[in-house]
């Protein structure tokens, strides 16, 4: 007690550190549970960020526009919008086709939750980014009001981005597949019978293995989600095989995967609801 009185400031710092460590651990334990106070606080922060986020994006567009021709910039913007719409349509088709044909059999035989009915896509803007750079978390500007739930899947025109880990009425936090603690089930797009599992390799890419050691996979092959595991629906582009290793010590056919999505600098996404 005397020591605490003599070192009051140090004692406060130690107490604050211990308290925060407990809060972080509790947050980890309670992740995904409904937390009304946290939700309200997150909504307030999102409301503060929203106008600023729109403003910075508008300004960055204008600054970029100063360096290019206005007509060219407008044309580019129109084409980007068109490509985005087409890619969104493509994702819908991929989901529909893959789910309704190939995975129906797989679902029946494996009893998975691969087929969860049809999805609709809701567009969202990225509101805020996690600042540490090593991790790929971000916040989007739609929440439960738009039908977003925990574990809703987030995509863009390039493919699978990640899933919602926390949601309130007006915003949601997203974790990318490269930071994901869950494994992602994939299948070879060229030959859907070959399935496997992948996860973040710790360096911003993915690594995984095929369940069939004799899978005919080669560098450059496109991989899509298999739907196995129940979190990620089938048919979303995961990435391309960048390295194949047939001599894994466990006897598995391992692959390195280059994600199709460039995670740094994502501005617009779509959420499957």
């Amino acid at each position: 007690m005397r020591w605490i009185q003599n070192h009051f400031k140090i004692s406060i710092i130690v107490a604050v550190v211990l308290l925060l460590a407990i809060i972080v651990f509790a947050s980890y334990q309670l992740q995904g549970k409904n937390n009304p106070i946290g939700n309200v606080a997150s909504m307030v922060v999102s409301a503060i960020e929203k106008p600023f986020s729109s403003g910075t994006k508008f300004l960055s567009g204008k600054v970029g526009g100063l360096l290019t021709d206005d007509d060219l910039e407008a044309e580019n913007e129109r084409l980007r919008e068109e490509v985005s719409n087409l890619e969104t349509e493509l994702i819908k088709h991929r989901l529909d086709e893959t789910e309704l044909t190939e995975l129906k059999q797989l679902q029946e035989s494996l009893g998975t939750d691969a087929l969860r009915g049809s999805y609709s896509l809701v567009a969202a803007n990225v509101l805020a980014y996690e600042g540490s750079d090593a991790f790929q978390f971000f916040t989007i500007d739609i929440g439960t009001d738009e039908g977003v739930k925990r574990d809703s899947i987030v995509v863009n025109g390039d493919g699978l981005i990640g899933r919602v880990i926390e949601v309130n009425k007006v915003s949601a936090k997203v974790v990318s597949i490269v930071d994901e603690t869950n494994k992602v089930g994939f299948q070879l797009y060229r030959d859907l019978q070959f399935i496997g599992v992948c996860e973040g390799d710790g360096k911003g890419k993915l690594s995984g293995y095929f369940l069939d050691q004799d899978a005919k996979v080669r560098k450059g092959d496109k991989l899509i989600t298999s739907g196995i595991g129940g979190v990620y629906p089938a048919g979303l582009v995961v990435g391309k095989v960048s390295k194949v290793d047939r001599a894994d010590k466990d006897g598995l056919l391992t692959v390195k995967i280059e994600p199709e999505v460039y995670f740094k600098g994502i501005k617009k996404v779509a959420v499957l609801v």
């Binding site: 972080v24 980014y129 978390f137």
Partner: protein, 175 residues
């Protein structure tokens, strides 16, 4: 060691932190080189080093909580990292002359290292696949960019503690 004293007011410091927070959360997509400096951390370092009052750490905790609410996977992570980064500043700030910029930059380097490795440790304990290698990859750029921000902020704010820097005989009534 002479240490200059001056009062900074909360209504001046808080908006600076607010702007730093908004820039950090909404402008991070401009990470052309693959990194973005942690502005709130930098402000905490500068304010903690320059002023004897607890502006730096109190505002650091407040905006750390906002960062946790805004972007962090686990609530409390950023606040904890900010408090941990403050610990060496708390012990070392009285050793250095606070009108010099180099010690402040040294503080920012130490704080950035604690922040980067501390953040990785927390996420690693909770199962994140991110390797320490990817943290080390961006560390030099992050350390340099944070140090530059601290340097700029120090040179701006140092005027509030030394009103007539070039006048060697002026002590502002406080020694």
């Amino acid at each position: 060691m002479m240490r200059r004293h001056s009062k900074m007011k909360y209504y001046i410091a808080a908006p600076i932190f607010l702007v730093g927070f908004l820039i950090q959360t909404t402008l991070s997509f401009v990470n052309i080189l693959g990194f973005f400096p942690n502005i709130v951390l930098c402000l905490m370092v500068v304010f903690s080093f320059l002023y004897d009052e607890n502006y730096g750490i109190i505002l650091g905790i407040i905006f750390g909580v906002l960062l946790d609410l805004s972007t962090q996977q686990y609530f409390g992570t950023m606040t904890l990292l900010i408090v941990l980064s403050y610990v060496p500043i708390f012990f070392l700030r009285h050793v250095f002359n606070n009108e010099k910029v180099l010690p402040d930059m040294l503080m920012s380097v130490i704080a950035t290292l604690i922040y980067a490795f501390g953040g990785w440790t927390i996420h690693h304990i909770f199962g994140s696949p991110v390797s320490i290698g990817s943290v080390i990859d961006i560390l030099p750029a992050l350390v340099i960019s944070n140090a530059i921000i601290v340097c700029v902020m120090h040179l701006i704010l140092v005027r509030t503690i030394i009103r007539h820097r070039k006048d060697r005989s002026y002590y502002g009534g406080v020694v």
